[in-house]
């Protein structure tokens, strides 16, 4: 709103947006602990969530907050793929929530890939709508497009390098691109590439559940999860409620972050008001993996993260899914989980990385079990062995579990209403 009470609308760049949100949050009286990732939830005698604890990386100590309700807002999981700004999104909140007993939904919708220059991190796929994609020899990649033809790029990348040139943008569009999204041009300006005139190699970086729609299952309008006292907001929560099996960029996800954050905050506050005093309860730590002494083998976070990436990055495993390949991945991932759950607690300096890699591992297992359970192609989930959409599978897939990962089918909301009406 301007001074005259008239609403003003404009596009807002990411950094502006984050700075504004942080300012508003501080003005609201919130204490922000930077560089202080949560590691685990605290639960009371009844299993209700009653706080969280984590590390302060720059102070080299731990923090603990006792609370009557907790909102998980840790984002999705992009598996340290370096898709722009996403390496802080490793599914940590999923693991914490799962240890407290939370369920997930739509985890099969977890395989969008974004286009970037092969060497770079700036995954701004929309501008590639003005691109022509070519093979090494200069011939056009058939069917390749940013929208509706990204799978053709993925298939071509399994054969060899793919190049792009934004040759469909005229002078006017080029000028608008420059002022609208300056960071898109950083990789080009700093390497002497003219993206409108020169061919440059591109790649596809996995965005996982950051731009997928799977996440913690929400059971009501307050963004409550299936665990008492635990709420979910933003990309940590499933976005199936607003966009099913496919999503776009800032629009849906930013709108959902704002709205679900508001709902979850209100829901958590209402719950807290009725939950009685936070003091006097006997709390225990819900975290298990990398946090408990087991005197077996050491925990090696970097090695584990790489092993998970090897299962979720390849286009032939995750972009194009198929029962045999998903099954093979799951065997390897499950074996890793057995190893990890027997491993010793991670060293103090390593514990945050250990939890991160364990979260990636758990996420991959919910994703692929859900992917196996959805025997059709729908939204971003593609099955080579079930290439068509199947109307009989117009339902949700719930998943959960750590040592034993399970899936179950839930009817779509519309089907529930239809049944109730009969």
């Amino acid at each position: 709103m301007d001074d005259n009470g008239k609403s003003q609308r404009n596009s807002l760049q990411g950094p502006e947006y984050m700075r504004l949100m942080r300012k508003r949050t501080k003005q609201a009286g919130v204490t922000i602990l930077d560089h202080s990732p949560a590691l685990e939830l605290l639960v009371d005698e009844n299993g209700a969530v009653a706080g969280a604890s984590g590390v302060r990386r720059q102070k080299h100590d731990r923090w603990t907050v006792r609370a009557r309700a907790v909102v998980i807002a840790t984002g999705g999981c992009a598996f340290l793929s370096k898709t722009l700004g996403s390496n802080v999104l490793t599914g940590d909140g999923y693991l914490m929530a799962a240890e407290a007993g939370a369920e997930f939904s739509s985890m099969e919708f977890s395989n969008p890939y974004a286009i970037s220059a092969a060497f770079g991190s700036v995954t701004k796929t929309l501008f590639y709508g003005w691109a022509t994609f070519t093979h090494e020899d200069g011939s056009v990649v058939p069917g390749a497009a940013s929208k509706g033809g990204r799978s053709a790029i993925a298939r071509a990348l399994t054969q060899g390098p793919v190049y792009a040139r934004l040759d469909k943008a005229d002078g006017d569009v080029q000028r608008q691109m420059r002022v609208s999204q300056p960071n898109f041009f950083l990789p080009f300006d700093r390497t002497g590439i003219d993206p409108f005139a020169d061919r440059f190699p591109v790649t596809l970086r996995l965005e996982g559940t950051v731009r997928g729609t799977g996440g913690l299952r929400i059971v009501d309008d307050s963004c409550a999860t299936t665990v008492a006292g635990l709420y979910a907001a933003g990309d940590a929560a499933t976005r199936e409620l607003i966009c099913g099996g496919f999503t776009g960029g800032g629009s849906h996800n930013a709108a959902w972050a704002m709205s679900s954050g508001t709902f979850a905050g209100q829901g958590a506050a209402d719950y807290a008001r009725h939950a009685g005093p936070a003091r006097g309860r006997r709390l225990s730590s819900a975290g298990i993996v990398a946090l408990r002494q087991r005197a077996e083998r050491p925990f090696e976070p970097a090695e584990l993260a790489k092993a998970v990436q090897d299962e979720v990055f390849p286009y032939e495993l995750n972009y194009f899914r198929e029962a045999g390949r998903l099954g093979g991945s799951l065997e390897r991932l499950d074996a890793r989980w057995t190893e990890v759950s027997q491993a010793d607690a991670a060293a103090a300096d390593d514990v945050f990385r250990a939890r991160e890699s364990a979260s990636m591992l758990a996420t991959a297992r919910w994703m692929y079990r859900s992917g196996l359970a959805r025997q059709e192609s729908r939204g971003m989930h593609r099955r080579d062995d079930f290439p068509d959409q199947d109307e009989r599978q117009r339902h949700y897939i719930t998943s959960g579990g750590l040592d034993e990962v399970w899936t179950a089918v839930r009817p779509h909301a519309e089907a529930v209403y239809a049944e109730a009406a009969e």
Binding site: N10, P15, K82, G85, F119, G120, M177, V179, N183, S251
Partner: protein, 106 residues
């Protein structure tokens, strides 16, 4: 990834240490150090927040590069992103010229 902090420009304000989402820098008694370069996600935020244009993030996300500070200074690459986004006094009119919604037909 982050390649260099220009010690001539740096005032040891430690803003980069505070804003880096992946905790790449460590404070010292003077100029901060790039302590964990491998953790850099090439998001360019440290450059954006540096009031002295003392930092340079190479666009290569996976492989460290050799950069020459003198060349960066001469080509005015230090601070180029901050100027483009409009986070400098001279370029602040650029902060509200994002017209992506027109470009994308919304």
């Amino acid at each position: 990834m982050i390649e260099v902090i220009d010690a001539q420009r740096c005032t040891s304000c430690d803003i980069c240490v505070n804003v880096c989402p992946t905790n790449v820098f460590d404070k010292t008694d003077g100029v901060p150090v790039i302590a964990r370069q491998n953790d850099c996600q090439t998001c360019f935020l440290c450059e954006l927040y540096c009031p002295e244009d003392a930092l340079f993030v190479s666009p290569f996300a996976d492989i460290p590069q050799n950069v020459d500070l003198e060349t960066l200074r001469q080509k005015a690459l230090l601070g180029s992103y901050r100027r483009a986004v409009g986070w400098t006094e001279e370029t602040k009119d650029r902060r509200d010229i994002d017209r992506s919604y027109l470009l994308f037909g919304h």
